[in-house]
Point group: D3
Chain length 285, copies 6
């Protein structure tokens, strides 16, 4: 056992060396936050990465809590041509849950396990400047990022904190805008010149038409895949977020299932656990 421990630690070294002082952006989907055991395992992995000198920031999604809170507040979802409308009251609830519950619970979990997280709204320090998304129908306070000011995040990772960021954008009039968490993570990764963007979700990764995990994709392959009907639902924005990151300097992007220590496994093994997307084919892995 003692020998095994040492060997595993020494083996981990080779991967750690490679990523020391690099920046990783991890996106935690709302669907992941519901499983306490998974969250704890992700938190431990984040602390490990932080401790060995990998600069990691987290963008999280929301999820069931939002729906739950909306019901409590008696807000009925409105839809126009099949799209959800986010009016001011809805936005208030969304923000309250994202920044006041999902975010602060992550901060608690990481703190409890010995890490030093800092919860941040995407509005703080004008992190995510945004404007209302132009669409045929007015969807209300749904926004798209117009500029990222990463200084507030950079300051925390330089001081060895783990920033936990809720995907709220700030409009020109200071108003809160609901922005997509995958896109936010991707834009943040680009602005911080990150080495990796890791999207953690509830599925194994990108699946082919037979439902089998695709281990490796290049940007051209991913674009081709997006033109087929294999990709559905929430996977589309994830793939677009990866492409955007890769075309703007991020080295590797990963879509992985938030399973038991999946983050460590992805980073500290050759094979990894989900789908890795890169600009070009990676030779020899």
């Amino acid at each position: 056992m003692e020998e095994l421990r040492s060997e595993i630690l020494i083996d981990a070294l080779n991967y750690i060396k490679q990523f020391r002082n690099k920046v990783f952006i991890v996106k935690l989907g709302g669907e992941v936050l519901v499983d306490e055991k998974v969250v704890k395992s992700v938190a431990q992995d984040l602390i490990f990465l932080n401790m060995v000198g990998i600069k990691t920031a987290v963008v999280h999604g929301g999820g069931a809590d939002i729906t739950n809170a909306m019901e409590k507040f008696g807000k009925k979802p409105k839809f126009v041509e099949g799209l959800r409308v986010t009016d001011k009251e809805t936005m208030d609830i969304v923000e309250m849950v994202l920044t006041g519950k999902n975010n602060t619970q992550l901060v608690s979990t990481i703190s409890k396990l010995g890490g030093d997280p800092v919860g941040l709204s995407g509005k703080s320090g004008h992190l995510f400047e945004a404007k209302k998304k132009k669409q045929k129908v007015d969807l209300g306070l749904v926004g798209e990022i117009t500029k990222v000011n990463p200084a507030i995040v950079q300051a925390q990772i330089q001081n060895n904190y783990i920033p936990i960021i809720s995907p709220i954008g700030i409009g020109a009039d200071g108003e809160s805008l609901n922005i997509n968490a995958d896109t936010s993570a991707s834009e943040l990764a680009v602005s911080l010149n990150a080495s990796k963007l890791i999207l953690m979700t509830a599925v194994d990764g990108v699946l082919d038409k037979n439902g089998k995990l695709i281990k490796r994709l290049t940007v051209p392959e991913t674009k081709k895949l997006l033109d087929t009907d294999v990709i559905t639902g929430g996977m589309t924005p994830k793939l677009k977020a990866c492409i955007h990151a890769l075309e703007n300097g991020v080295e590797r992007t990963h879509i992985i299932k938030a399973g038991y220590h999946a983050l460590l496994e992805e980073i500290l093994t050759v094979t990894g656990t989900g789908t890795m997307i890169t600009q070009k084919k990676v030779i020899g892995e």
Copy 2:
């Protein structure tokens, strides 16, 4: 008019010079947050102080929003021997509203007016380490501060952000604890060696038995006052917070009504607008 403007600006200089690069801690009571006009006026004042080089951080309270949200979530207040019990569910709601609503709205207002705020939970960076308050009856998740780690706030004020802090403490197991906002502000002021602690509230200041504003108090006078029955309700913790700050290095503390530009008026005039409490009698003012 032009001449007046210049004279006012030049006159303000004398006060600004005195406080440049000093730290001010402002506590915004929950009762203040409800009046949009007042909040806007406070926000402008905070931006002004920030712009002229006074390092200012804000601790805010909660208020009506919490009661409102608790009703929505169907939580009925429990009392044991007249004291409110904060169970886990209640704490979740309190935190959600404080950090997710009151805090983020302040961030929005200050941003809209051109400032650069950063919202922070008192849990972030282990800012307010706390433990459950020992009391005869178990009040649940009501805490008292055991240690302040001001590094996270210091970093923001050094980078010229305006930190907006919700009064949530973090327990040894990462759990959230409801802590008193006046006390939090006072402890933060001490840990940052602040020049001023300013408690903004809905009343004019400390009133004597005839209901008349007391303009100046010393610590001994304040202690004597606390022994009488003149001081009631929320004023007691405020006075104790002031005494604690003054006995630990803060130079001056103020209890003022959050009226129109009251913060600027307090700082930029000789007379000020509320009650100023100091260690000893201030000669010549």
Copy 3:
């Protein structure tokens, strides 16, 4: 009154924000230095700008004091083809008055009002390297700048001092050379990548052929104007100094009358008080 004060302060914020940490170069004409009340008002304005984070340096001219001192020393002005000849003795007197009187009096005035000025000769730290101006007739020690070494000024403004600079150049052999103050200010502005060059004088600004103040000029318009006979006397070098600054990166140049708090009025109002010259037409002001 209280409300007015706060409003004026808050209103000033919008302009201050825009210029914080920017560099302004102010040239004070010798004709301005004679009026004690004006000098005091300029000094207060400089302190205000300094206090709110605008990095300001002053180049001053000489004036009546020089003529006066020359008379005392029994030096009669020599002219060759209508141009004043600056022999060694004359130069000694010029420098003595500029650096020893005009400069030190500004230092006294600003200090008295609570600012922290540093008087500097243009020779110090090789600030203005110069050579004798080539002209048909030998005018003696009249120089033109060959190189600006702004490090000595930069160090002072970084340390929040207000540098007050006398327009003396240093030749290759260490000799003092009389250099034009407008040109010196313009060259300094360029070397420090200043946002504004403000020439303060005794007239309202650039006047048109009817003697009416021209509020706005572009570089092309100014060049055209210089070709007419509207511009006479000391205004020609001022306009050339503005053009030089604007063509080398300075954003805006101003020629204003050194009246009551004119500097603050120029900076903190939309309309300003004199003539503003920019590269291109400024839209929407």
Copy 4:
């Protein structure tokens, strides 16, 4: 297996956190350097500690190579009253082997395994200032440390290099002096305010009179032990080195057998592998 790996890594975290940015001084006995497999394992451990942010410096001994080289150079050991005499020629050979062979081989091994070591003589940067040891008989160039100048080592550990130091002192006339490696390591630990001094040797640790490993010792216990005849040979200077370190601010000292990953095992487990000596009894371990 995957789960085990993650668990081991996460488990290691708890120890790593405790020692991050602390300084460890490791002394590698000459007897350890002969076993290539052991040296490789120590090298890997050093790299691991370095990578996770523990600042580690090594002082090494000499050994068989010195005897071997002396024979080659035809130097016969001289003894006066049973003590070895180090004349100039002998010292030259000792230094040549220590700094030129033992040291550079460690540098090679660590480099090969991916670390970034810097070989240093104790003379460089006046690291170990020394004088001839006063003894009844003149033993020649045997020295004792008079002053440690740790700046040269501090610079390397701050830059994340692993300093490898040969125990040569520098006399007032620049001459080389043979100094004891255990003492050198202890003095270096004190001068760098190290958390741990770890002496790696060929035996299991301190043994009691029955030859059984003593797991824990306090300084008073160690002093008592030194007065008995249980401690013999090379263990005496090691224990004295530990006492000196502990009495001058080093928190813990360890004497361990340089077995397979013994360094990692010692640091990353509760029980450790050899003898731990502390100032006072450690409660609860």
Copy 5:
């Protein structure tokens, strides 16, 4: 010749090493400034010291130029009970000559020889805060230093400039005050924790009753000497300046004749050229 050069350079090393990064304050008496050859030689020495890393600042006196200028301006010296009265007009002339002529000429000379001087009035950056000297008769604007703010000088020497300072103090109302140059140099030396204060004058040093140079003095010896009538005229304030410096942390003070490279000779030889005063007797020199 080549050998000699090298030997002299190497020999100088021993002295340079001793004083590198130390601060020297040199006072140049007005009587010294009149001899161009001497000034050039002093300037070269200052540049040499600066170049080899000795941080040197100069305080200069005035002299013949002032008398000359006063005559030109038709100011007749007024005396009350044998003491010169400095009215406002006189002060203006004194300051104009000191800061505008003596100072700027030193700047020119040092610049010409390749150094990088910065001329400073003692008023700049509130360097010498002063008040009117209390005396039986009102002497007008004669001041004594109340506080030294050395930051402005420190900034220049850190940036490797050579500060040249005119002995003008600044009163509470910004007014200029005539302060003694020896005292100013002494106070500056104390505030900068200088190693040496060197007063350069026209005489060989302190002379005994037979007119013979006294090479070494201690503070007690100097005090005793001041009680005799051996010391007369300008030597009294010089000795007092030395005593003040020595009693406040300056290591050595020197009174030397400003002869050919006297500064270098004083510093780079054992014997020196004038009188050296120290706290206690210096053994072995």
Copy 6:
């Protein structure tokens, strides 16, 4: 004598000014190390350069000591087609002597004379990454530099140490490789953007076919010379090292005889003492 000293010092200033904060790389040939008096003189010169702010690093060769040691160890030189073969045992001896004797003796000499040297192997900090030199015959562990990592040297010269470097390269597997000292010095000079590369040897410089010293050469002239048979033996790699340095940014290279204070003479005189090679013809010297 006093006057001469000052004049010489002042004269040296002009050269010192030119080179302050510049980097010089000095290569000391093994043939130079044998003469104790010469080594002492070089050491003094190095300390002088260091003291006046010229950043100097030394690469030294080996020499007689290696042959001597090899004999002692019974290693007979093997030659294949006239070239020496460096097997593992030979390499061990070479490294032991270079790093353990030649290097440490230089460290001692410089320390004794008051300097602060740091001995470094070319392996430390991966300074000289190397690979086996490809040649027709396998010469064993003879290497050529593939990459220079000058950070370790830069850190020492920034901290005012004098780095003394032995020309050992480190292979991909951490193995030691024997690399040419002239080439090493040249590569180091390029990587540090040095101003001068100075090769110190036993001959006067480059000699023409009549054995007369050539004082000046340009790169084209040197290349032409290499095509003739005038250049023989060790001079060829020296000239190639100079050409490589000059073609990669080093300003001047010198080949000089390591005579009495030759380094100072070369640098502090117009004529210098050996051969200076530059990119192009130097006008006016």
